[in-house]
Each structure stands twice: as structure tokens, then as C-alpha cells.
């Protein structure tokens, strides 16, 4: 079984009479535990594909299985259930809740799952510790650096031990150094937990953290050969 099996995915956007085809027959498979990076020019449809993989958007046609589950057959409610329990998201702009402290932000998925406050806090504290922010538990996103915010977001994405992580340009809002740092941390955490990851990025310097790099062009996904500089740091 593949972690992700997307077969012949089509998607176009309609605005009035104009139809913009974005994905024209994407075939994309990811093995369990694999980290696949998705690159490509701006507007090539990377975010669109990631949204479809994350069950945030439905394809016009094609077949999508996430861990063997046919996504097209799910109701909206089971999709959101799937996102909550099986998929972790990391966004370019972190998307933390401004009014909540770091630890509360990490605890959000747990609370959505119905965990008690105390249990959620203990688990969230573990994750904050794992991303090296145990001392920032009470800080709000407004008082943290971009790198710290993204580490909180990574902790949040992993807190429910998802099977799949989808990250859309996780380093784009970070400077080069903290980008490297965050990716190294991200990589080691998903390795530890054996999580499958799909990471959209523009940043060639972080390709070293990928098992495989795929390129999007002309509405399709093509595998690139293994990154030349071999293996993680």
C-alpha cells in the first residue's frame, strides 16, 4: 500500500468564463515513511496539489488514496476527521492562533480531538520540548521569532502522531539559517516517528533533507533524479 496514491488528477479553476487548467493528469505516489519534496515554478500548481492531497480541495477527476482510503468517497465530515487524525499541516506563514500561547497552540488539535485540558497540556509540553521550545511554552506567537513560530507549528502538526505531514513552503518565511535549522529538526522528528511527508519548496538548499524530489511542470509531476549532495546532515 502506498501512503499516497494519486492517479490521473485533473483540476482547473474557473473564474467567470475563463477556465485555468492547473493539474492535467497528475500521477503521484509516495511510499510510507518517505519524504518527497515538490518543486516547480510559481503558479505551477504545487499548492493546488498539496490542497488536494490534504483533502482541502477536491479534484475535478482522478483517483486519490491516502493510506488505502479512497478520499473521493468520504463525506466532508470524515474528510475533516481524516485531516485531524492522520494529516499534519505546516504552512508558509505558520498559521498559529495569535491569542494562544505556544503550548495552547500545540494543544489545539488535541483539544479538537476531545482530549482533556490537562492531558493535552502534558502532551503539548512533550512536543514543545522536542522542538526545543520548552522555555517558550507561555509565549504568544507575536513575541516569538519566525523560526520559533515555525517550530511551534511543526510541534502542532506532529502532536497527534499523524501518518502524513503536508508542508507548503515551510522555510519561505524564514531566513537561510533558521530555515536550515527548522528543516533539520523537521526531518529528524518525522524520521523518528516514521511519518510520510510531502514538502513544497522553492529552496534548493534544503533538498538534502528529501528522499526524493519531484518537479511540477505543465500540470504534471515528474520525478527528478536523487539529490546530488547525498544524504541528510
Amino acid at each position: 500500500m502506498h501512503a499516497i496514491a494519486a492517479i490521473d488528477i485533473h483540476k482547473s479553476y474557473r473564474r467567470g468564463a475563463t477556465v485555468t487548467p492547473v493539474l492535467t493528469g497528475v500521477d503521484f505516489r509516495v511510499e510510507p515513511g518517505e519524504s518527497v519534496f515538490l518543486v516547480g515554478p510559481s503558479g505551477s500548481g504545487k499548492s493546488t496539489l498539496l490542497s488536494i492531497l490534504g483533502c482541502l480541495l477536491t479534484a475535478d477527476s482522478g483517483r486519490l488514496e491516502i493510506f488505502g482510503q479512497d478520499v473521493n468517497r468520504l463525506t466532508a465530515r470524515s474528510r475533516s476527521e481524516l485531516r485531524l487524525r492522520k494529516i499534519g499541516f505546516v504552512f508558509q506563514r505558520f498559521n498559529l492562533i495569535q491569542g494562544l500561547t505556544a503550548i495552547d497552540n500545540v494543544a489545539v488539535p488535541l483539544r479538537l480531538c476531545g482530549w482533556s485540558a490537562g492531558r493535552a497540556w502534558r502532551r503539548a509540553a512533550e512536543l514543545l520540548d522536542a522542538v526545543g521550545l520548552a522555555d517558550q511554552a507561555r509565549a504568544r506567537p507575536g513575541c516569538m521569532s519566525a523560526g520559533q513560530c515555525q517550530r511551534v507549528a511543526i510541534a502542532r502538526s506532529l502532536v497527534l502522531q499523524p501518518e502524513l505531514i503536508l508542508a507548503d513552503e515551510p522555510t519561505a518565511s524564514l531566513d537561510a539559517d533558521s530555515g536550515q535549522e527548522v528543516m533539520a529538526l523537521f526531518r529528524s522528528l518525522i524520521r523518528q516517528q516514521g511519518v510520510t511527508a510531502v514538502v513544497v519548496t522553492h529552496d534548493p538548499r534544503i533538498f538534502v533533507y528529501a528522499d526524493r524530489v519531484c518537479e511540477m511542470a505543465d500540470g504534471q509531476v515528474r520525478s527528478r533524479e536523487q539529490p546530488s549532495e547525498s544524504g541528510g546532515r
Binding site: 482541502l56 480541495l57 475533516s80 491569542g99 495552547d104
Partner: protein, 373 residues
């Protein structure tokens, strides 16, 4: 989710404060307006409420305690024979004019009480005793009406309908709905002051023996004396209040002013809740993207509204209590019942919840895919 709502709300102090101001404003407005209204309208039934009679018997068509129609006094004997009646006495309420030392005059309501029982006499006396009304030419007036009656001191003389009247005691806050002062005296003098025939009176005030069913006695009175109507104290109090309520449009004008204020307060709340949500639309999209269910989102929005209502109600009622202490006076009493206070909180909470539906409809439309853009 409620905890989440509290934390996000408190984090945005500016907006929370604005919304609170809206809620507090509404609560204060409803209670003060309502309190003034009930304070004013309750003056219409003061004689009944404080009269210590269990049953008021009057002309068949009586509709207001201040405007009775004469009934033959001799009917009282028939009422006294009804089982359960402890005693029944004639009572006079009538209009007359008091001549003032300055040469001016003042229309007054003369109230004549039974000399032996003093039922329906003035209350809350600050000078003199209730039984002083039995003294020769004795009348009791209210000290808050001093201005209208040329500052009468106890012992001073006035003239009512050409008959001598001597102020023997003074009350505080015994004022009717109308501007005319009440002058309490005995039945026999009241007849003289109002120029009525002593064969007539305005009411029979009835006291019952303990444990007797009021309604049963009312029915018995009506059948024994078919020309009269008999009401319990509460009934006649309500009837007197309704008289002004329905004939003056007082309820409508107070009510409209209150509703208008309420609307303003609630627009502030709705607008703030909406702004709060608009600012956070992205965060709601994030919540949806990471798997929040619709009911969890609803809970957050509702919790915001109810929290605002709760906090605002507590603060608002505190301010109301303070304002009532400071500003309530016998002339303009602010009478806030538990029902009014509690009802206003419920009303405001309901409106808060309704006004939260506007921002919620906005959140509903948010597509979580926006987090990827």
C-alpha cells in the same frame, strides 16, 4: 472549545472591551429605563398597595383608584354580614381644592379613612403619628409636596373647600401618579372637604379573617350587592396601573426608548463580534484545515457571545445597583425587580447570541483551502 474561546477573547482586549461596553450599556439602559418606568407606574397603585385592605369594593365600573364613583354608604352593612369578612369600612377618594396662605390654590386628592380602623391611612410618617389624623381638623400631607402647599409645618392651617384643615402629621414619599398631592383625613371630614353627601363614599375597604379565600368573598360580595365590583388588592393594583399604561401610551414610549437604546448597544456588540471574527478569519480557516468540526466552530463563536453577555451583565448590574442607590428618589423612584434584572440579562444574552450569527455566517463561508494561499 470554551476555554479556547475565553483565551482568544481575552487576548484581544481592545475588542473585548468595546463589546463589553455595548453589553453594559444595554443592561444599564434597560434596567434604569425599566426601573424608572415601573417606579412611575407603581405610583398609580400606591393607595391600594399600602392600604392594608384585602379587598377593594367600588362602583361596578371602577378602573383607577384615584377616580372612583360614589356608592351608597349603607351597602357596607350588607358586606359586613358576609362570612369571612373581618371588617368593612367606607373610604373616600375625591378631588378638591386647597386654599393657600399666599392666596393661591392647589387641586388635591382628599382621602378619607375610617376613624376607628384608620384603614388606608398615610404611611411612612416623618412627623406625627397616624392616629393624629383623628385630631380636630387633622390632615396628613407629604413633605415632598411642601412646595405645592406653601410649606405647611405641623400645626399650620389650610382651607379645603372652605373648611378648616390643620396639618397634624407629615409623610414622605406618599405621592400618586398625578401631580395633585394627597391629603389624608377622616371619612367625615373628607366628605366635607369634597362636598359629597355623607350618605355616599368611594370604596369599601374589606379586611378578611385569616385563611379566608379572597376570591370566594369577592364573589359573595358581587352577588350580595350586584351594583358593586370587588377586587383583591393585587387585582385592583394591577387595574390601576393598567389604566395609565393603556390610556397614556406610557408603556409604548418607555418601551420604544428602551428598545432603541438596546438596539444601539447590540449593534455595538454585533459589530465588535463581527470585527473580532473578520480579523480572525484566517485562524478559523486554519482550525477548519487542521480538522475542526462545524459544531466546534459554532461553540467558539457562541462562547464568545455568551461570555460577553455574562461579563457585561455582571458589570452592568453592578452599575445599575450603584445608580439606583444614588439616583432613586420618592419623586422618581427606580424600581428594579428581580424579574427585570434577570430578564434583561436573558434578553441581552439572547441578542448577543443572535448577533453572533452574523459573524458565524461569515465563518461558515470560509474555505479552509485559503490556508494554502
Amino acid at each position: 472549545m470554551v476555554e479556547f474561546a475565553i483565551k482568544t477573547l481575552v487576548a484581544d482586549r481592545g475588542k473585548m472591551f468595546t463589546a463589553l461596553v455595548g453589553v453594559v450599556f444595554s443592561i444599564v439602559l434597560v434596567n434604569i429605563q425599566g426601573g424608572l418606568f415601573f417606579g412611575l407606574i407603581q405610583k398609580a397603585s400606591m393607595l391600594v398597595d399600602h392600604g392594608r385592605a384585602d379587598i377593594w369594593v367600588g362602583h361596578k365600573k371602577i378602573h383607577n383608584v384615584d377616580f372612583p364613583r360614589d356608592i351608597p354608604r349603607r351597602w357596607v352593612h350588607r358586606i359586613r354580614t358576609i362570612p369571612g369578612v373581618a371588617h368593612a369600612e367606607p373610604y373616600v377618594v375625591g378631588v378638591s381644592q386647597m386654599t393657600l396662605p399666599s392666596g393661591g390654590f392647589e387641586p388635591v386628592f382628599v382621602v378619607g379613612v375610617d376613624e376607628s380602623t384608620l384603614m388606608g391611612n398615610a404611611w411612612n410618617l416623618t412627623q406625627g403619628r397616624p392616629e393624629d389624623v383623628r385630631k380636630t381638623d387633622g390632615v396628613i400631607v407629604d413633605e415632598l409636596e411642601d412646595g405645592k402647599l406653601d410649606q405647611p409645618a405641623v400645626g399650620d392651617l389650610r382651607e379645603i373647600n372652605g373648611v378648616r384643615a390643620r396639618v397634624v402629621a407629615k409623610s414622605r414619599g406618599v405621592m400618586g401618579f398625578l401631580v395633585n398631592p394627597y391629603v389624608f383625613t377622616t371619612y367625615s371630614r373628607a366628605v366635607a372637604y369634597t362636598g359629597k353627601s355623607p350618605a355616599y363614599c368611594s370604596y369599601f375597604l374589606v379586611r378578611l379573617q385569616p385563611g379566608v379565600d379572597e376570591q370566594a368573598v369577592c364573589r359573595a360580595i358581587r352577588s350580595r350587592v350586584p351594583q358593586v365590583e370587588a377586587y383583591t388588592r393585587d387585582e385592583y393594583s394591577r387595574i390601576s396601573v393598567n389604566y395609565w399604561m393603556t390610556r397614556t401610551g406610557l408603556g409604548i414610549s418607555f418601551g420604544a426608548a428602551t428598545l432603541l437604546g438596546l438596539a444601539v448597544g447590540m449593534i455595538v456588540v454585533a459589530q465588535t463580534l463581527y470585527a473580532l471574527v473578520l480579523d480572525r478569519l484566517g485562524e478559523f480557516a486554519t482550525l477548519k484545515a487542521i480538522g475542526a468540526k462545524e459544531h466546534q466552530i459554532v461553540t467558539i463563536v457562541l462562547a464568545h457571545a455568551i461570555l460577553m453577555a455574562l461579563a457585561g451583565s455582571v458589570i452592568g448590574l453592578g452599575i445599575v445597583a450603584l445608580a439606583q442607590r444614588l439616583f432613586s428618589s420618592p419623586r422618581a423612584p427606580i424600581s428594579i425587580s428581580a424579574e427585570l434584572a434577570f430578564g434583561s440579562c436573558i434578553l441581552v444574552a439572547v441578542i448577543c447570541v443572535i448577533s453572533a450569527m452574523l459573524p458565524y455566517s461569515r465563518i461558515r463561508k470560509v474555505d479552509p483551502v485559503m490556508v494554502m494561499r
